[in-house]
């Protein structure tokens, strides 16, 4: 898949660029000596002018008098605004929004879209993000007016289809997690975490216990400690052992009667399934703590192993990871939680109830779904009967539920398991391929010998031996038409690269990615400045992030 772009002429370099990418090819000329390696912008082949657009904003394209919107006639007798809303409450000057026609609007945003790399175009092995294919069927069913134009305050009798989707998804997620109750409300993983920590807190407080500590491994996602602070509790870090799991001695030392909960990801952010998980559960349960499972890595274990069976009390799901909600360039997501019986009474409202009712024809019974917000209408001990309240408006991101419910219907139980198994196989195959190509000499596996669905390699030896950092490697990958892995996370691995190849990627893609890594290392051995100054073929090259933060320009000044 890699090709060599041979350019002729003095001082030019061979630059390897992926050939299946929409990204334009461009030759590059590091300056002589490499000390001031400013590459020439020396396009030789098809530089894509659209990708190299000057980044003119829609506001800068505004021309007085142009418009896209034409209002329908009011059709009612017009009354002077002054008679309806006093002038003092009204806006004096209109918001300076763009003045553009519809064709211009479409062209502007379509051209902008072509300055994005996306999952449909190329491999996106972003660790911990589970960039799996987003089936278009889901967009079609999500757009059906019966789902898309359903008002969230519609009465339950007129929303039975939606409530059945939600109830069905709750049951499916409960089965995957091994926990009995599911609340779909949280908007994203971090929101699910906040729900989880507040639930654990409510559970302890209802028992008259004021516990303040939350144990989080030093490999945890940043959202874990940030959430703990927002929930008014205190983070206590637990060390990682040489095998990449929780350091049991450190855990024992820190687990005491003040511990409200432990937040774990398993497999963890190193891609390692902690074999001591039952012992960890028993230690934390032993001091009366609650176990919280960060479901970011659920894609490794669907149908294989279940957090509920490992002893966890609360699990959040990232429906935008394992269950194919498109990431949308940074949202929307959805972060439902599954909980054990002891946590269930505290879950946010409304809860969905399935009730047996007499059939319309008087013969036997049928069922109907209801949304219940009032805890007094719920039986003692039932989910929501001692609710912590609400975390957002309405019921949650229903549009996401429709997509994920469709996905689970498509795959079925055995398909979910197959997805996880192939995710694990793909990760281990890529690891083997990197070994075969000699890549792991300079990019060794950080922990262990095998992995679950993702793995962490360290760019430490590469940095010392070849003089290029993980950041350089990542940027050079862009020229090969690949999205880089997650970089510099987890924090405890030097120059970390967290790679998650997912089950929807073909073996040939993994081979090509491994070869690109090998090629970048080979190239760096000859001339590290090429990677150090990469990328070359992208819509823009390395950006001044420090400058952006120092003097923030976060909106377009408008004349």
């Amino acid at each position: 898949m890699s090709t060599t772009e041979n350019t002729t002429g003095r001082g030019t370099k061979d630059v390897h660029i992926g050939d299946d990418s929409a990204i334009a090819r461009e030759a590059v000329l590091p300056a002589a000596g490499g000390s001031d390696p400013r590459p020439l912008a020396a396009p030789t082949t098809s530089v894509n002018p659209i990708q190299r657009d000057h980044a003119t904003t829609i506001f800068e394209k505004s021309v007085a008098g142009r418009r896209a919107f034409v209002a329908p006639d009011a059709g009612v007798p017009e009354v002077a605004l002054d008679e309806i809303i006093p002038a003092a409450f009204r806006r004096k000057a209109p918001a300076r929004l763009p003045q553009v026609t519809e064709p211009e609007l479409v062209r502007h945003y379509v051209r902008l879209s072509r300055r994005n790399f996306d999952l449909d175009t190329g491999f996106y092995p972003l660790g911990s993000c589970t960039m799996k294919y987003n089936p278009r069927l889901h967009e079609r069913v999500g757009a059906l007016p019966g789902h898309a134009r359903l008002h969230p305050f519609q009465t339950a009798d007129h929303a039975q289809g939606a409530l059945e989707v939600m109830y069905g998804l709750e049951r499916q997620l409960a089965e995957v997690s091994g926990l009995p109750h599911v609340c779909l409300q949280p908007s994203a993983g971090s929101h699910g975490e906040l729900a989880g920590v507040l639930l654990a807190r409510a559970y302890h407080e209802a028992r008259g216990e004021k516990r303040t500590k939350v144990l989080t491994p030093d490999t945890a996602h940043g959202t874990n400690p940030a959430t703990v602070t927002m929930a008014g509790l205190e983070v206590v870090k637990v060390a990682t052992n040489p095998d990449g799991g929780v350091d049991i001695d450190d855990l024992r030392a820190k687990a005491d009667e003040d511990v409200a909960l432990i937040m774990l990801t398993n497999p963890n952010t190193l891609g390692i399934f902690d074999p001591n998980i039952e012992e960890i559960a028993s230690i934390v349960h032993g001091v009366g703590g609650v176990l919280y499972y960060d479901g970011a890595n659920l894609n490794a274990i669907m149908g294989i192993s279940r957090p509920g069976d490992m002893g966890f009390d609360i699990v959040h799901f990232n429906l935008h990871k394992s269950f194919t909600q498109p990431h949308g360039g940074g949202g929307p997501g959805s972060g439902p939680i599954a909980v054990s019986d002891r946590i269930a009474p505290y879950v946010p409202v409304p809860v969905i109830r399935r009730e047996e009712v007499p059939a319309a024809d008087g013969e036997g019974t049928t069922h109907r779904f209801d949304l219940v917000s009032d805890p007094d209408r719920l039986p003692d001990g039932a989910p929501g009967s001692k609710t912590i309240g609400k975390l957002r408006g309405f019921q949650g991101n229903y549009g996401v539920f429709v997509r994920c419910y469709s996905y689970i219907l498509s795959l079925g139980g055995s398909g979910l398991k197959d997805a996880s198994e192939v995710a694990v196989l793909n990760a281990n195959y890529l690891l083997a391929k990197l070994e075969e190509l000699g890549v792991r000499k300079q990019l060794p596996l950080a922990f262990g010998t095998r992995c679950m669905h993702e793995f962490v390699i360290s760019g430490g030896p590469m940095k010392r031996e070849l003089g290029i950092r993980t950041l350089d490697l990542a940027k050079r990958l862009l020229d090969h038409g690949f999205h880089p892995p997650t970089v510099y996370f987890p924090l405890l691995v030097e120059e970390a690269l967290l790679i998650e190849p997912v089950e929807t990627e073909a073996r040939e893609t993994l081979d090509a990615f491994a070869e690109a890594l090998a090629e970048i290392l080979r190239e760096a051995g000859e001339d590290p400045t090429i990677a150090q100054n990469a990328p070359y073929s992208t819509p823009v090259r390395r950006l001044d992030e420090a400058g952006a933060a120092k003097k923030p320009r976060i909106r377009q000044p408008i004349a």
């Binding site: 994005n116 967009e139 134009r149 940043g222 069976d309 360039g329 949202g331 139980g413 090259r541 390395r542």
Partner: protein, 469 residues
Amino acid sequence: MTRYTTATDADREAMLAAVGVSSISELIAEQIPQSLLLDRPLDIPEGLSEQEVYTELASLAARNTSAEDEVTFLGAGMYDHYVPSIIDMLLGRSEFLTPYTPYQPEVSQGGLQVMFEYQTAISELTALPVSNASVYEGPSAVGAAAYLAKLVNGKKRIVVSAGVHPHTIQMLGTLAVGYGSEVVVVPLKDGATDQEAWAAAVDGETSCAILQQPNFLGAVEDVQALSDAAKDDSPAVVIGAYDPLTLGVLAPPGETGVDVAVGEGQTLGNRLDFGGPSFGFFAAREAFLRRMPGRIAGETVDVDGRRGFVLTLQTREQHIRREKATSNICTSQALNALAGVVYLGWLGREGLPELANLLVQRTHYARTTLAAIDGVELLHEQPVVREFALRLPGVDVEQLVSYVQDHGVNPGLALTRTHAGTYDDGLLVAVTEQRTKEQIDELAALIGDAIAAQRGGATSANARTEISA
């Protein structure tokens, strides 16, 4: 093998050989203790073909009564506005739909520039200089703003007007446990925030004072008076939860003393979707920039001097600051915010006030027409933009809603669902540009019929033909 999993049997064999194991089970058994392996298949039925899944989801959709199926006057936080066709097209593009958060700016300029333009549009709309790239949705945006206030002044009392959406007030109660704060609710008087009670509730220990514009009952609040009162001898951060479309006609928060303006973005080109996903907008005074939650895009240049955009001020965020972050938010609502900025560009500088005026005119007509029905009164007489509240003394409003719905029209929200014991005879009616004069007249007739029916009088409803959306 599923239709989305790529490895064939031959692939699997070759890959297992490369890994050096004989089966995937072996690979997994090496890593997961036997006792934790699920010893049975998941109790989820076998997978279905694409067409079968479509049929199932279509039949579920058909069991809902959507705004496509009835003439709806339901609002109360989300509204049936028209979504222009270009939004479906642009949001469906792979390049916007499928990327992750723009962690690699060199290949994410499209998404980052959209964020930058979105932030600009929100700043223009609110007259506040800084905006983030969106948060989850409306009520949780208020929660995030209250957290910002706590970080800014360290105070622990949240004062909130009873005119704020009941979901938001309930959510503040939930979050306040974590923030270590208390929530004080200020009552309404004549449908708007009671200014004396508000002034009395806000004091030196108040962290933030939260109002909603227009409020839950549709009333336009005197925001300037409320902000002035809240800042009198108090460190309180004034937070306004706005319906962004009404800013086509109402004074912007930045010009009426509001420090942080947030709100539900659904009305800006997003679907109803039974409540989500949508987005929350979040704009503030310059001084709060480094305390803002969520992603922020900033303008910069690349090594060749080309204009470009990056995620900026990331030292606020969880992945850098961990427990000291200004928020735990990670995923925001980029795709929904894209719909928002496209929608605002589509409306444009002149279109937004024109649409707002249309809403005001039709809503005024509806309010006047419905209030003229025998047995119907205004719940309050404050000015309104696109929603208003009625009282129907002695009427079972939920039953009335059901009656009117049976005739193809959804008359709005029975307030007993959100304010039982306070507004049991209340009905909250929203009028978008999708509701015509004829539909409003039809609603008036049906409400009249429903009241008559409940009073045991004659009804013309049987003779009335159902109207469709």
